[in-house]
């Protein structure tokens, strides 16, 4: 019984981290209309940045505080250099260019940090377990991680629903042309949205790093899972990304316990089911 409870917690924790990454992807795809395959790389770079920053400053939360603005600026640079040329191009060329970015980012990662998995320290004041049942403990850091993800989710919803920028984003998703005709420069908006997407992916990588360690392939898994979440949740919907991520997280966790041989394909079965019932995703606009 308590094993299931732990699995639920694991599933939720994994799902919440995926949510952070997937929310960035759904924003970028929903507003900019660009398929960005390098999204997983930003997660990976976040994890490795956490490694370096914690070795310099010690605490993962300091790493987060420094890493986020760095990631944001990095995202703006990438958009300006490469992504903005893709708005007029078709999906194929977007796939090709962002795939090439993966190659470059992978190379950078290998040169700087190497191939071996490296662990990132959990902050000592959180490095203990809390007893959730008589016999089983659960790491405090993971609980804090979940809380932070939920807080970020609420913050995102707040920004999208209550601020001026959020209004612009929502409007641009439904009628980009009208936004321009009302006097707003969509080019700058796109740059900011892309940078935010990168920052969200990096944040997910940084926060999850003490749990997952950093190794070369972590970006790939997040990329695929994020795309599946976007399909399940609906393109452009933060709410959809949240629900989709939790579904995926729980399905994955229970899959590992109940059908370990097929656990990695459960998410695809889930995606196929959603596509069959609601082709535009759970919260998508048809």
């Amino acid at each position: 019984m308590s094993l299931y409870f732990v699995q639920i917690l694991n599933g939720l924790q994994y799902g919440l981290v995926v949510f952070l990454a997937a929310s960035g992807l759904t924003l970028v795809f929903g507003v900019l209309g660009v398929i960005n395959l390098s999204h997983g790389s930003f997660y990976m770079l976040g994890a490795y940045a956490a490694l370096t920053l914690t070795s310099l400053f010690g605490d993962i939360f300091v790493a987060l505080a420094l890493g986020l603005p760095l990631a944001f600026l990095f995202g703006m640079a990438i958009e300006w250099l490469f992504i903005r040329h893709l708005y007029a191009r078709d999906h194929l060329q977007q796939v090709l260019l962002t795939f090439a970015l993966i190659l470059i980012f992978n190379e950078v990662q290998q040169s700087v940090w190497g191939n071996n998995p490296l662990s990132i320290p959990t902050p000592p004041y959180l490095a203990r377990s809390v007893m959730i049942t008589g016999a089983l403990g659960y790491p405090v850091y993971r609980i804090v991680l979940m809380a932070i993800c939920v807080a970020l989710a609420l913050a995102m919803v707040f920004v999208i629903q209550k601020t001026r920028v959020g209004r612009l984003i929502r409007a641009a998703e439904s009628n980009r042309e009208m936004v321009e005709a009302l006097g707003f420069d969509s080019r700058i908006l796109f740059r900011l949205v892309f940078a935010a997407g990168v920052a969200l992916a990096a944040a997910a990588g940084i926060l999850a790093a003490p749990v997952e360690s950093a190794y070369p392939g972590i970006g790939d898994r997040v990329l695929i899972t994020s795309f599946v979440v976007v399909v399940i949740g609906g393109i452009g919907s933060i709410r959809g990304a949240f629900v989709g991520s939790l579904l995926i997280g729980l399905a994955d966790a229970f899959g590992k316990v109940l059908v370990p041989q097929f656990s990695s394909v459960i998410i695809y079965a889930l995606m196929a089911l959603v596509l069959a019932l609601r082709p535009a995703g759970l919260f998508g606009r048809a």
């Binding site: 209004r167 929502r170 321009e180 005709a181 009302l182 969509s186």
Partner: protein, 246 residues
């Protein structure tokens, strides 16, 4: 009915477009169109569907780039400028289909582009718009896509006003609206005109437009075939019927 020669660029023209040629792919939709609007003037744009009215408005606001021709807004050359630049230079746009953001509330739609006009003037406020359109005040927290056609039209006009424009382009001002709502829209346009805002309005209710506007321009197959006053329009009903009727 004679085709009035394009008037020379007057000092008090807020908008002057000359020799506009716009294409959609190989389709030549606007053919050498000259169009001008005086400060504070109300001009109607008439013609059957597919004659180029919407394309002309979209060219003026910069959503479509003309292949040739020039556009000057308040003396400044804005030919080929992006729509966001032209909008900030003082042109408001109320499109066909209204362009309401369905996933924003009425209030959020309304204040979307709120900004002071030229010389910092603020003739329009949220409250002023709600006073003109009390129905909108009642529906403040509804989503954009929950409004009726008439309410959407009120909202789009209010949204354009809150940017304090010098000139507003309105495409299909009263299409599909009940007579009472139409009356309200016309009354509102009169108020706007009184405040010195120039208006270009496209609509098919000729009767109402003739009362409302100072000058009328008729487009047929992308060309200007008439430009004149209400009196001139009234003087040749056969021509009008041929151009606008069946």
């Amino acid at each position: 009915m004679s085709l009035a020669a394009p008037a020379p660029d007057k000092a008090d023209d807020i908008l002057v477009a000359a020799g506009l040629n716009t294409f959609y792919g190989p389709s030549h939709v606007l053919r050498d169109v000259n169009f001008r609007v005086g400060r504070g003037e109300t001009v109607t744009l008439l013609g059957r569907n597919g004659m180029g009215k919407t394309t002309l408005l979209r060219t003026l606001i910069g959503l479509v780039k003309p292949k040739s021709g020039a556009i000057r807004l308040d003396g400044v050359d804005v030919t080929g400028a992006r729509a966001c630049v032209i909008a900030r230079a003082g042109m408001g746009f109320v499109p066909e289909g209204r362009g309401i953001f369905p996933n924003l509330t009425v209030e959020e739609n309304l204040v979307f582009a709120e900004r002071p006009g030229r010389n910092g003037r603020r003739d329009w406020s949220r409250q002023a718009v709600y006073d003109i359109f009390p129905r909108l005040a009642e529906r403040r927290t509804n989503w954009g896509n929950q409004l009726s056609g008439g309410e959407q039209q009120m909202l789009t006009i209010g949204r354009a006003l809150l940017a304090n424009p010098e000139i507003v382009l309105i495409d299909e001002a009263t299409e599909g609206l009940a007579p009472k709502v139409r009356e309200l829209i016309w009354a509102t346009l009169r108020v706007i005109a009184q405040k010195g805002v120039a208006i270009v309005v496209v609509d098919k209710n000729l009767e109402d437009l003739v009362e409302l506007a100072d000058r009328h321009v008729i487009l047929a197959k992308g060309e200007v075939v008439f430009e004149g006053t209400s009196a001139q329009l009234r003087a040749d009903p056969e021509f009008v019927k041929r151009m606008l009727g069946v």
